[in-house]
């Protein structure tokens, strides 16, 4: 970390040699392969698909899962550091890896049958197959339990009907993890394949955030699947929520990565840009901004580092993940905005990354549980009283 951005509290010393080399590799990959193309993709609202097999080859897809589940068996801190570096590049790149690893490979690994694992995990891990995760609906976001998508048993088959919205990689996906309620109201997960009768997708256009990421709507009209397409080892809302805990963990790391990119950009600029008699970094008002940013970044680093070690020890709770996701999104949002302020007019151009990150963070701030929902999760945890509607 030391050479890759502020490491004010020497967190580098707490990382293993493998973790450091993994972070360096992810950093090198992103700088060499992704940064030269990000602005073009962001402008055109496309994703650099040619990088997907490379991400797989490097082992970046679901890397903390065991090797037999298509991962690389690295520590959760190493997994976090990878997402940190992908998001230093762009949230679209990190989102791609988060969805593939935490929301598709993880549920198949944790809830899937041996046949489902054998069929999907090797390709997903290698980046030759792409997955997506369908939980959110046009009318059900923070309240996924109210979902309108239905599954109905018909002989040995299931018939699925409904719509899913804001689905990252939806139209790219070879396999979609789709959640639906059965006739008894129980949430079940299914693996739907591209091209199934009645299963269609359309991309959402006109996004002003996460532009280098494909976001889609999924439509299921009487999609008939055999029972073998159902995730057999989970039922109830804890299935999708368990996946979200994994994804939110990665987001908390990713936010540190993009915040550091903003901070470094602003710091370099403040040391170079001269106004009046000296570089603007020599004036108190700019120093106050930089100090606030590096302090917030350091807090966020400590949160994710400790969270990662708790996860490695099997002690992490979803409430702890909520705290890191909630805190780090606000932190990154503020850092991006203040970095742009320091850059002045230059900061509104694509030549500098903070405004792109700032726009991306607006999505991340509300996806995978809004800031407010994480507040309620933590509120319930500290008081023992749930503030949700029942």
């Amino acid at each position: 970390m030391k050479q890759l951005g502020p490491d004010f509290y020497n967190i580098t010393d707490l990382l293993t040699e493998e973790e450091l080399l993994i972070q360096q590799t992810a950093y090198d990959f992103v700088q060499a392969e992704f940064m030269p193309v990000i602005n073009e993709h962001y402008e055109k609202s496309t994703f650099p698909m040619e990088l997907v097999p490379k991400l797989g080859e490097l082992g970046f897809m679901g890397s903390s899962l065991p090797v037999e589940s298509g991962g690389a068996g690295v520590s959760n801190v190493a997994y976090g550091l990878i997402l940190h570096e992908l998001e230093r590049g762009d949230s679209g790149l990190r989102s791609f890896a988060s969805v593939q690893g935490a929301l598709v490979m993880y549920p198949i690994h944790a809830y899937g049958s041996d046949e489902q694992k054998a069929k999907w995990l090797p390709g997903l891990g290698a980046g030759t197959k792409i997955g997506c995760f369908g939980l959110t609906e046009p009318n059900f976001g923070s309240n996924p339990g109210g979902m309108g998508t239905r599954c109905k048993k018909d002989g040995n088959d299931w018939i699925i009907n409904g719509n899913k919205m804001w689905i990252t990689n939806g139209s790219l996906a070879d396999v979609a993890v789709v959640w639906a309620r059965d006739e008894n109201g129980l949430v079940r997960g299914f693996l739907l394949e591209k091209g199934m009768d009645g299963f269609t997708s359309s991309d959402i256009h006109g996004k002003l955030s996460l532009r280098a990421s494909i976001t889609s709507e999924l439509s299921m009209a009487n999609v008939r699947v055999p029972d073998s397409a159902r995730l057999p080892n989970i039922e109830g809302l804890k299935g999708p929520l368990g996946c979200l805990t994994q994804a939110r963990y990665g987001i908390a790391w990713g936010m540190v990565g993009c915040a550091i990119d903003c901070y470094n950009t602003a710091l370099d600029y403040a040391k170079e840009r001269k106004q009046f008699s000296k570089p603007i970094g020599g004036y108190q008002l700019i120093q106050a901004k930089l100090v606030e940013m590096v302090t917030r970044i350091t807090e966020a680093q400590l949160l994710v580092y400790r969270l990662g070690r708790l996860k490695d020890e099997g002690k992490m709770t979803f409430q702890q993940v909520s705290m890191a996701k909630r805190n780090n999104c606000v932190m990154a949002r503020d850092v991006a905005r203040v970095s742009r302020e320091i850059l002045g007019a230059n900061g509104i151009t694509e030549d500098y990354s903070p405004m792109r990150h700032m726009a991306n963070i607006e999505s991340v701030y509300t996806y995978e549980g809004t800031h407010e929902m994480h507040t309620l999760i933590l509120g319930q945890d500290v008081t023992g009283l749930a503030a949700y509607d029942s």
Partner: protein
């Protein structure tokens, strides 16, 4: 096919380079070190040759204090099979002849078919170790290889000459060859490679077992070049201009 790749750890191009108070070297405790970038191409070339042959061994050989293990492991993570670490205490050796003697002492028993080095190291930039080592071991040597073509008991290499000229030479093996940067695209270490590197052998050779003889070069002073903008326009006829130039070379620059 048994290939050694000499890999050095050097200060990164973006690292700070604070000079020690005694002006003999930089303060390594503040420097961030990386794999010498030209050596990265040498590793890649060795791995490509091994993969094409479908058999063989690539061995990372590195000299330096304990910190160089990080760079060794990077080489192992990229796919090298094992490593030899020539340990050093304190300040690193910078005399190419002494360095080459150390390497030849350790490597003569290994009987490598090929020894690759990067073009030069980014710290001292001598570019001599590969050639000196080849000579000491009785290997054929070539520098600045831009392309390699391994045959049964020889290797053809395309050497870069001056002014855009190239030369194909055929060397009997064993051979020691310095690899020009840019001839291939070095791979990233994959996570699988990084995790697998932990199980690969790193043989450590204490300094007492490889350092032989006395050094022929020592560093007198390390300093940051002073920039100045003094320009003297010399005017007059050819004789008076030449006289003034000789005077400057003798008295100001003291090179004559």
């Amino acid at each position: 096919m048994k290939i050694a790749v000499l890999v050095k750890q050097v200060p990164g191009s973006e690292s700070v380079l604070p000079i020690l108070n005694d002006e003999t070297w930089v303060d390594e405790s503040l420097v961030s070190f990386i794999m010498n970038p030209p050596d990265n191409f040498a590793i890649e070339e060795a791995l490509l040759i091994k993969e094409k042959a479908g058999e063989g061994e690539v061995v990372i050989v590195s000299m330096g204090p304990d910190r160089v293990k990080k760079t060794i492991k990077e080489g192992l993570a990229k796919g090298a099979d094992r490593a030899i670490h020539l340990e050093e205490d304190g300040q690193i050796e910078t005399d190419p002849l002494s360095i080459s003697k150390s390497f030849s002492t350790v490597l003569k028993e290994e009987n490598f078919d090929l020894i690759f080095t990067g073009l030069q190291s980014d710290d001292t930039g001598m570019g001599q170790t590969g050639v000196l080592l080849g000579e000491m071991l009785g290997y054929s040597t070539a520098t600045l290889a831009m392309e390699t073509d391994v045959q049964s008991d020889s290797i053809r290499v395309k050497r870069e000459l001056e002014s855009g000229w190239f030369q194909w030479v055929k060397l009997p093996m064993p051979a020691s060859i310095s690899i020009q940067s840019g001839l291939n695209t070095p791979r990233y270490p994959s996570l699988k490679g990084i995790m697998g590197a932990k199980r690969k052998e790193i043989k450590s050779i204490p300094v007492s077992e490889h350092r032989v003889g006395s050094k022929m070069q020592t560093i007198e002073k390390v300093f940051i070049p002073q920039t100045s903008k003094q320009t003297e326009m010399i005017e007059g006829d050819a004789d008076s201009v030449a006289t003034r130039i000789v005077e400057i070379l003798k008295t100001d620059l003291k090179v004559l």
